[in-house]
Amino acid sequence: MQRVTLYLRLFVWFNGRQLQRHPWRLSAVILGIALGAAVFTSVRLAVDASLDAFIQSIELISGKADWSVLGRGARVPEDLVARLKGDAAVETASPFVSTYVEAQGNDLPPFLLIGIDPILDYSLRTWELASFGPDQTASWLDLIRAPNTCLLTPTLAQALQRSSGDIVQLSHVRQIAPFRILGILKPQGLARVEGGAMAITDIATIQEFIGCQGRVDRIDLKLKPGTTEADLRRIEGALPEGFDLERPVETKETGEAMIRGYQLNLSVLSLVSLFVGMFLVYSLVSLNAAARRNELANLRALGASTDLIFLLILSEGIALGIAGWIAAIPIGSLLVQYLLAAVSGTIDSLFVRVQAVTLGPDVSEILLSFGITVGTSLVAASKPARDATRIAPKEAMIIHGSASQTPSRARGLWAIGLLLIALSWPLASLPPVGPFPLAGYVSASLLILGFSSLSPPLLRIMGSRLARPLRFVGGEPAFLAGRYVREAGSRTAISVGALITAVALFVSLVIMVNSFRYTVSLWVEQTLAGDFFLRPSMAGLNEYRDALPDDVVRAVQGMASDVDILPYHRLRLRHDKTPYELEAVDLKKLMSYGGFILLEGRMEAMRHPLFRGEGVLVSEVFANRSGLSTGDRYGAQIGKAVLDLPILGVFRDYRTHGGAVYMDLKAFQTLTGITAWGGVRFFFKDRDRDLEGATRALEARIRRCCAQSHPLEMAAGLELRREVLRIFDETFAVTTVLLLIALLVSALGIATTLTVLVLERLRQLNTLAAIGASPGQIRSMVFWEAVLMVAAGELIGLVCGFLLSSFLIFVINRQCFGWTFLYRIDMGTFAVSLPLILAAALAAALPAARLVLRASPAQALKEA
């Protein structure tokens, strides 16, 4: 107990008051740690919230269903329901139809309309009426007996400003129809799906509304307890061709895996901030320990044990970590709001539908962030603490000639550095652990570590070789700077390493974002070519299950004079477990206006078979995920039809939600018998005319003829392409923010580490002053040291950054998302930013230079 009070008292007297006396340094470090901790925690909380929303939605929708009967690329015939229900092992077989609809006269986003048979669905999904109709007698029975009736969630009712008994006009590409609201649901069970923006109607009503009489999206089964494998096989065997049994939990698990992979990726990026924050703790703690070397020696001389010294220095680090974590709370609260929207938006765009995400307090995440923050601070402070224990008590007395440290010259850093760099490349090609490119990240870390190890040897070389040219350029101070840098050895490695990390990350990020944008722009111009796009309203949301109504098709066909009409049909299918889109379109016409960016295969060789429908083109994502490529056979089952075609080539594609396969439309129609149109692209034949005006005129025409009774989605090609790019920019926003924060923390780190290096040699510098060097000359020397170190750091960082960018583009992106880009370097950005970084780092050296000459040399020497 006595020892604890002693320790605490000394901590306050020795460390506490010292920290207090330099509030700027303290604030810089705490801010850096706070940023790192805030970023790490907010990212995890944001993704956790999205994950919860997603899982909850899926679980609420699938309810207690054990299995679902699904069609491949087709809806399920409803007569299977009675057959399945008749099976002895089936407790209930419940049909399920859902579609996104809009409320007319409203700016609300589309919401989910679910159609079920309340009787068959009874034991699968839970929902309950909170209030009945105005006559207090409505019930689920009224849902069945009256067409065009529905039940709303309280959220939706409030948003639409309607209540029981009111009419709401629901809009779907097939028709706009009035629905009578029979009652409001209690906000529980199914009513919590999609953040509470949903409505329930009878299965008969929804079939009539969207025109899918005779078919349902799927049939959910609940099996009796004690069902055996044989029962399952019998049930599956009784299904017609093209329909399978699937567990609802598989959809959940696939989506969950994707989101968790994304979370891990972001966590690693945010850990970068945290680890760079470690630099900060290291620099401040070692700064303090270095500056007060004499005091520490005093303490030892007075009888303090080495354990006590170790504990005091270590505690400084821990205290910084705790203070940083506490400061992270307000920062994190702000950051998490932004991240919540951004992250859930990204997940919604790229992976699975996620809506109305709310943040919940998560004790385990908070404990995790506390643990990691304090843990990294502890690790960061451990080296200075250990070094402090080596201070001999006799340093309390000035004994001439016994000046301490010879800089540790770690031999063989060259070899270690090159070895790490060499290891990183083969490691990168290891397969990912699930969607998490573990090997990719390890090799990226090895790369950075390897390059950092090269900095002392490089500085040594720079110091020796450049010493004379330096004297020519900057005079004696520059020469001395070169000498110092040569001797400084591995003590500079950590601070230069911080700079290398920052520059490498910056360079690689710039290259990656640039390459991505360039490639995506190219893709958008070629594969998304088109002057005007027409498709059913909410087609994307509804996964292209609804075709363009016949009268719209007829009207469009009548416009064939000055436009080239390119109808297409899209199907969302799955290959094994991976989702993809099959698009059937007149490829010959498409190629005359746009094209594909090929990865494999040559267009001249594949033109003819492709246009004749004797082969398909698959996207890079599809090829990576399925393992198929040029020469392999692509197979799919669509209803009763079977497609079996060779893969003629692989192209770059950046659509979200999976891979893509293209085939000729006529061949598709012949093989499958599906002649409906999923959408249309329009191209103006005369490319020299005023395209914008013509597009507007076309849109007006279509609106007049077709959009009155059929809600349609129309977009000018230019707008569409801009929108696609905007979505990509948004998804990169999160990554960019995280890396910028890492850069900021690095900047703080560089400033403080440079200060450490100066203060360690305060006596030497003041001695120089005492023997006649002017303050300007000393500052100049410190400045040149900074120049050399920063130049070395930038140079190494640049090389490292180029290599790192290849990792990011060709390995990590490939493993996370399935795509790669064309490598592209924007010289302009570098020409501007690299000097900026140099300037910024040198500006960071200014405080260090100023520290040098605060007091008169003699006094400083005496006190030192």
């Binding site: 006595q2 020892r3 009070t5 002693l6 008292r9 000394l10 007297w13 020795f14 008051r17 010292q18 006396r21 004499n294 005091e295 005093n298 303490l299 030892r300 001389a301 007075l302 009888g303 303090a304 044990s305 080495t306 006590l308 001999a392 008590p393 006799k394 309390a396 007395m397 000035i398 004994i399 001439h400 000639g401 016994s402 005496k862 006190e863």
Partner: protein, 235 residues
């Protein structure tokens, strides 16, 4: 008490401590034999680089010899462990330094209490004792000031109070007047002599100034790391 009957409290045989230099040379002390009796006021004289501070460091347990032996108060410091040396520094010796070596973030009073606290004493009792020492040295009113607010003489007097807080039998002073003007230097030296004459502590002063001469009972002169002369004074 009769000093001549007192046994030697500090004994060194062939004491050697060498620091090799990068250019091949070496500094330090070599083959020193030393006997200092209890209650003596020994003054070690010599120029810079003669090894005075090195010798003092060895006596104070701040350093270990390269060769030879040193026994203080019956304790062989050569074979003592690091922990034992730490305890020795806390309890048996009190040190006064040329640069005062007060911790700048502690008040004068806190600085004085420090060795006692390190030795495990309770703060309340230590505080009382520290105030007494400060009172005896005439600087009680400066108890709550930080070293930056004290003059050189005030700092050194605080340092002396600190050296005494654990009631050590031996007081070592390394150039105690080196950073003081002549008036403060005299005051400090008289205080040190007082510790020896009135309180009977063994005081060893390493200095090149002549201020200590009137009070010394034995003078040891070092040159180039070896004892050049050992002069017992009268008394």
């Amino acid at each position: 008490m009769s000093r001549s009957d007192d046994p030697c409290v500090i004994e060194a045989h062939a004491l050697t401590r060498i620091y090799p230099l990068e250019n091949g040379g070496a500094v330090g002390i070599r083959d020193i034999d030393l006997y200092i009796r209890n209650g003596e006021m020994a003054v070690i004289k010599g120029n810079s680089g003669s090894g005075k501070s090195t010798l003092l460091a060895l006596i104070g347990g701040l350093d270990r010899p390269s060769r030879g032996r040193i026994v203080v108060g019956g304790r062989d410091l050569t074979t003592a462990s690091a922990a034992e040396l730490t305890a020795y520094r806390r309890t048996t010796v009190g040190m006064v330094f040329q640069a005062f070596n007060l911790l700048p973030t502690l008040t004068a009073l806190e600085n004085v209490c420090l060795p006692a606290l390190l030795a495990g004493m309770a703060y309340e009792t230590t505080r009382e004792s520290a105030l007494n020492h400060l009172r005896e040295l005439g600087i009680e009113k400066l108890a709550d000031r930080y070293p930056a607010q004290l003059s050189g003489g005030e700092m050194q007097r605080s340092a002396i109070a600190r050296a005494l807080i654990n009631n050590p039998s031996i007081v070592l002073a390394d150039e105690p007047t080196g950073n003081l003007d002549s008036r403060n230097g005299e005051i400090v030296m008289r205080l040190l002599a007082d510790l020896n004459q009135r309180q009977g502590r063994t005081v060893i002063v390493a200095t090149h100034s002549a201020l200590a001469d009137p009070y010394a009972t034995v003078q040891i002169t070092l040159r180039d790391g070896m004892i050049a002369q050992r002069t017992p004074c009268n008394g």
